[in-house]
Amino acid sequence: MQPLLQTKQLTKVYRVDAIETPALRGVNLEIYPGEFTALAGPSGSGKSTLLYLMGGLDKPTAGEVWLGGQRIDGLSKAQLAQLRLWQVGFVFQAYNLIPVLTALENAAFVLELRGEPREVREAKALEALQVLGMQDYAHRRPNQLSGGQQQRVAVARALAARPKIILADEPTANLDSKTGLALIEHMRSLNREQGITFVFSTHDPRLLERVDRIVRLEDGQIAA
């Protein structure tokens, strides 16, 4: 089977004021459709960097990224924005939502950027909120939601846009472990029931028990 997402000798060196920090050092990773993958590793091991490069948020120093059979590491800024808009879903650590928009509007945000008509995006966003059990909070603003609820809205936003893959960078980092676990369970059932491919990073070992595939990073490399 073709991998949905593939990195080849992926290398990233951050350069700030002539100081070079190697964040990734030749990462080869393949993600297959329908997989539920966790990136584990200590702080500074390169988890975020890897997710960013896989999602076309940043460009690698060397190596290749392939998404759905297309090589994306050389794309222009505008092309990458289009790619993210249409093919990749993101969930970030915290402060993911736009504070002036309601949960429903946040869930519909990507669809709005795509220019979908109002009824369509409303229906899709509401459906996604329902899947995550957030339909009753549709008209609340983020500051009227708990941290866990906010993250569920962020997942709903990614879900509503039906991307090829959802990348989540420590989606549970700001949640207590029970809420964090519940969020991962939501993602897990989306993966099982709708076949959505997830890659998420975490350094909470308890979450790793719920995952079929764990990729461990250490010092910018995949640990054996």
């Binding site: 940043d58 402060y95 736009i98 002036v100 928009l101 409303e122």
Partner: protein, 410 residues
């Protein structure tokens, strides 16, 4: 359900105080610009109307009359034919005047004056009397006896209504001298004019100095606003061509070049001030929009990460700036229009510049009125302020790198 428009709107009001202040500054600029433009419009109209009421919109005279010294050379040849042409070609009313340098004397004293014999249509006559007649009446059209004098001239000659007045016009083609009765006293804003004004009927002046003669034909168009003056640019050359080479057709501009020049300067001057107002308000807008961006760097980073392109982000910033400016403009504009409407019934300016103002033709009561372009020009300023103020913040926002923006926590 939201769209980017309402997102921008909500973003503006996240910092209510700051945005209110900024929108208020734009509103103030709109308010003052509208007010000044309407004030200017009012001044223009009334100066224009006063001026043209006294000198007419166009004047027909002998070509090169300024250089001519001989009274005889100033007479318009074929006055009747000229009048026939005017009747055929314009919808103006006109005054036929014969101006004669003359000596006016009472029982004991005499003064040199410019004697004017004129024939005015009823409406113009009424307007003239209303504006300048202080006492008594104007000589009737067929009155060969009555004379009206400037009030200060009459005082200098020790004359009162009913007294005999002697006029000498040597070197002319009529009787050259005559005795009249003082029937009216005139008051003019300019002291010099009052001291040397004497009015007869046209018939009386012709009998005195030039049978059938006239030196000036003054055309009055039914204009009420300065903006209508543009029509003269068409009429004036047409008339000049049809009257032929011996006669000149001048407009009030040539008669009062200083006022014409002031007119040309007023609007640009107000617009320069408006540009300064809006420039200052624009700095506040830049500040507000840019601070808003800085505070939302992380949030914008998320938007870009989710796929918002540079153009979409820039559009959002421009939209915020335009909304901020236009909300100020709507409020300032509404208040401005209300104020103008409230003052359009006229308010007195005497307190501001005193009675001296009328010497310069400044109106004592101003009726605020907007000209056709005043509102679009003002809104154009507000719009331009919104666009220019957004330009730099929009560029900054469009260049945002999502990864860096999301690391930003402030």
């Amino acid at each position: 359900m939201f769209n980017l428009f309402s997102l921008s709107w909500r973003n503006i009001w996240r910092h209510r105080g700051r945005s209110l202040l900024t929108a208020g500054a734009v509103g103030l600029a709109v308010f003052f610009t509208l007010f000044y433009l309407s004030f200017l419009g009012a001044m223009e109209n009334s100066i224009y109307n006063n001026l043209t009421a006294s000198v007419g919109h166009l004047q027909v005279r002998v070509e090169g009359y300024r250089e001519k010294r001989e009274f005889r050379d100033l007479l318009i040849p074929g006055v009747a034919q000229v009048e026939a042409r005017l009747a055929a070609q314009t919808q103006a009313q006109w005054v036929v005047a014969l101006e004669v340098p003359a000596l006016v004397a009472g029982e004991t004293r005499s003064r040199g004056v410019l004697l004017i014999g004129d024939r005015r249509p009823a409406a113009l006559r009424e307007a003239f009397a209303k504006q300048y007649l202080a006492e008594g009446q104007l000589p009737e059209a067929d009155d060969l006896e009555g004379i009206a004098l400037g009030a200060s001239l009459a005082r200098a000659l020790r004359l009162k209504l009913g007294d005999p007045v002697y006029v000498y016009a040597p070197g002319t083609e009529g009787r050259g001298a005559g005795a009249y009765r003082l029937v009216g006293l005139l008051r003019f804003p300019e002291a010099a004019q009052e001291a040397r004004s004497a009015y007869l009927s046209l018939a009386a002046a012709q009998e005195l100095a030039a049978p059938g003669g006239a030196t000036r034909i003054e055309l009055h168009f039914p204009f009420t606003r300065y903006s209508q003056d543009a029509q003269l640019a068409v009429v004036q050359p047409q008339l000049a061509a049809s009257l032929g080479p011996g006669l000149s057709v001048e407009s009030w501009r040539e008669a009062s070049p200083a006022i014409a020049q002031i007119f040309a300067l007023l609007t640009p001057l107000v617009l320069i001030f408006a540009a300064i107002f809006f420039g200052l308000a624009g700095l506040l807008v830049v500040n507000t929009i840019y601070l808003g961006l800085l505070e939302r760097t992380r949030e914008l980073g998320v938007m870009v990460a989710l796929g918002a392109g540079p153009a979409q982000v820039a559009r959002m910033v421009v939209l915020e700036s335009l909304l901020l400016c236009s909300s100020g403009a709507v409020v300032g504009g509404a208040l401005g229009l209300l104020t103008i409407a409230a003052l359009s019934g006229g308010f007195s300016l005497e307190a501001l510049y005193g009675p001296v103002g009328s010497e310069f033709g400044l109106p004592s009561v101003v009726y605020l009125s907007l000209r056709a372009w005043d509102i679009p020009i003002t809104l154009g300023f507000a719009l331009a302020t919104g666009l220019l103020a957004a330009w730099w913040p929009a560029r900054v926002a469009a260049r945002l790198e999502p990864v860096e923006a999301m690391r930003f926590t402030a």
